[in-house]
């Protein structure tokens, strides 16, 4: 199925998706490195491993479509079009950051590209997104809102209130659950009597699909249908993307609650070589073409880090500005 879809969307699209995957992965690797160098303050919740979800979904969205994100928003931000410079500068807490250094890692976002400041309260976006859907519906604007959330959010009341209201109002919303199996250290199965988040959607009359979240083409295909359906006025759709975060919940997590074997099994499904191998096997792309993409991303990130380092700190008066409009 994936091979067929690979052929359907064409070389240019596949290369674009590959490049986006590499951008998101290398961005997180670079951020981790700079963080360990002491250049980035605070804490980090990183996206390594889950890139196929953000890339596969956001590729279908225009700037006028909106997303809500979570405490783990770096990948969503880049995929939605926040520039690496603006994202990196925000993580460096510099005035040139996309939120003027007032959002930081957990609130990364930029309304100019259709992304609210990420919401770091678990499930927080699941009610807020209904306001986006309601506004689009009232204006008959054909915009779509996508709400990214984790498996942990599905045990918050907000998940249920948001899904029910979106469904009864037939809102143009796609709820994208990134089920990475753990809410911080707690396995989903330890706190949920069902295996699949998608099963919860039927309680609200919402169509749902389970997607291989480690396969960017599978996500891309499912998201295309879901977004088209929501945009067309059929109401919300829920996608459950089965995925895995390679790293800890946040920076101080030694991951004692899961095995290295489990991690290795998920790493074997990594979305980057998966698409890379398909590209090479298609004989339309060589390894050196893929290497060139790596080099290109490398220089984009070099530039982003230099930009962030050289940017000014926010001025002290900024601390008490932007509280009220």
């Amino acid at each position: 199925m994936t091979t067929e879809y690979f052929n359907d969307i064409g070389l240019e699209k596949n290369l674009h998706l590959y490049k986006q995957l590499v951008l998101l992965r290398r961005f997180e690797e670079r951020v981790y490195f700079q963080y360990m160098q002491g250049e980035i303050p605070g804490t980090l919740h990183q996206y390594h491993g889950q890139e196929a979800v953000a890339v596969g979904v956001c590729d279908h969205l225009s700037k006028t479509d909106w997303i809500t994100s979570t405490h783990r928003p770096h990948g969503h931000a880049l995929a939605k079009g926040v520039s690496p410079r603006a994202a990196m500068a925000e993580l460096y807490a510099k005035a040139t950051g996309c939120c003027k250094a007032k959002g930081g890692s957990m609130h990364l976002g930029d309304p100019e590209v259709g992304m609210l400041p990420a919401i770091a309260i678990v499930g927080g976006g699941n009610t807020i997104v209904t306001g986006l859907g309601l506004a689009f519906k009232m204006r008959r604007s054909e915009q779509v809102a996508v709400c990214f959330f984790g498996d942990g959010a599905t045990n918050e009341g907000a998940f249920h209130e948001g899904l029910n209201f979106a469904a009864v109002q037939k809102m143009p919303i796609v709820f994208v659950c990134e089920n990475n199996l753990y809410g911080a250290s707690t396995p989903y199965h330890a706190v949920s009597p069902i295996t699949d988040v998608a099963d919860r959607a039927c309680a609200y009359g919402v169509p749902a699909q389970i997607v291989d979240g480690m396969d960017v083409l599978a996500v891309h295909q499912a998201a295309q249908e879901a977004i088209a359906s929501a945009r067309g006025g059929s109401g919300p759709v829920l996608l459950e993307c089965k995925t895995y975060r390679y790293i800890g919940h946040s920076r101080s997590d030694a991951r004692h609650y899961r095995t290295r074997e489990e991690e290795a099994a998920w790493a074997a499904k990594d979305p980057i070589p998966r698409l890379g191998n398909m590209l090479i096997e298609s004989r339309q792309v060589s390894q050196s073409d893929l290497d060139a993409i790596e080099h290109e991303i490398e220089s984009v990130l070099d530039d982003a880090v230099e930009f962030a380092r050289n940017s000014p700190e926010p001025t002290p008066e900024q601390a008490v500005m932007d509280i009220f409009a």
Partner: protein, 349 residues
Amino acid sequence: MTQMIDEQQVATQRKLTIAEALREGIAEEMRRDESVFLIGEDIGIEGGFGGAFGVYLGLTDEFGHDRIVDTPISEKVIAGAATGAAMMGMRPIADMQYADFLFECMDELVNQAAKMRYMSGGKVRVPMVMRAPVGATARGAQHGQCPESYFIHVPGLKVVCVSDAYHAKGILKSAVRDDNPVLIFEHKLLYGSKGRASAGGLDLTAYVPEEEYLFPIGKAVIKREGRDVTIVATHISLYRSMQVATELAQAGIECEVIDPITLNPFDKETLFASVQKTGRLVIVHEDTLTGGWGAEVAALVAEHCLFYLEAPIKRVATFDTVLPAAPSLEQVVVPTVERIKATILSLFD
């Protein structure tokens, strides 16, 4: 001086209840601006309540269900949808049936609506209104609280208490046009009071001009001028304070009664000028005492006007208790005319 409504006009012009004035203000704003809409529980259902206290009665006929959005009993979604829609350029007026239910959506109000502008570095606006009825009315512990003080503690939220029809309408219209989240607290006993015994026999209809007007957020109103003591009060406590002022005038004590209307941002200028004139301050609210907004007002006056004071600052508030259901017990804990009067008199011993 907005507060000095022409007495002759009052005598000859039409009078509205607070509910009628709010309804008129909402309808005017919805006619003026297509982005204004209503969202809440039981607000637009045919044959329904028109909101828990009838404020929206008849509005569905004019505006339809596209702009009067009936929600499930999902307070998080009411506040969340209002916040989200506001960030998309809409101007929602959200309805909470009882202010007690705001605790169901504290995350949406406190973490989202209040903080989005700041977190985005000033890139988003959250022009939403949340209306919430307060006040002890023999409904017990979970349908009678006055929780406005919780919200003055939140940077990013504006907090308003309306106590008469004229200012209720004027400030509601300003709140709809404000680019920030504004919470409007209304007292249940004041909505439609035309002298009902349960509302203390108060006739609270007031002159509301037919011409459009706005009343600004952040401006207090002097309800009665006096030289001896400043009383700051809201909602039904305001009317009880006015009654006390009338009674004490016969004893030679002239009370200056201030309705702050907006609790955050507070009109410090009016407050300080009054206290500097009278040298005495009593704050009256139906919210409980500890950590209530009266404490903040007392602190402000202590910081800025201490050397003008001739007596300690006093607060008359609901005792630090859960609201009892029995009407007789309820009247023990809320600020009564007797308690307000005794507190003021204690300043002149």
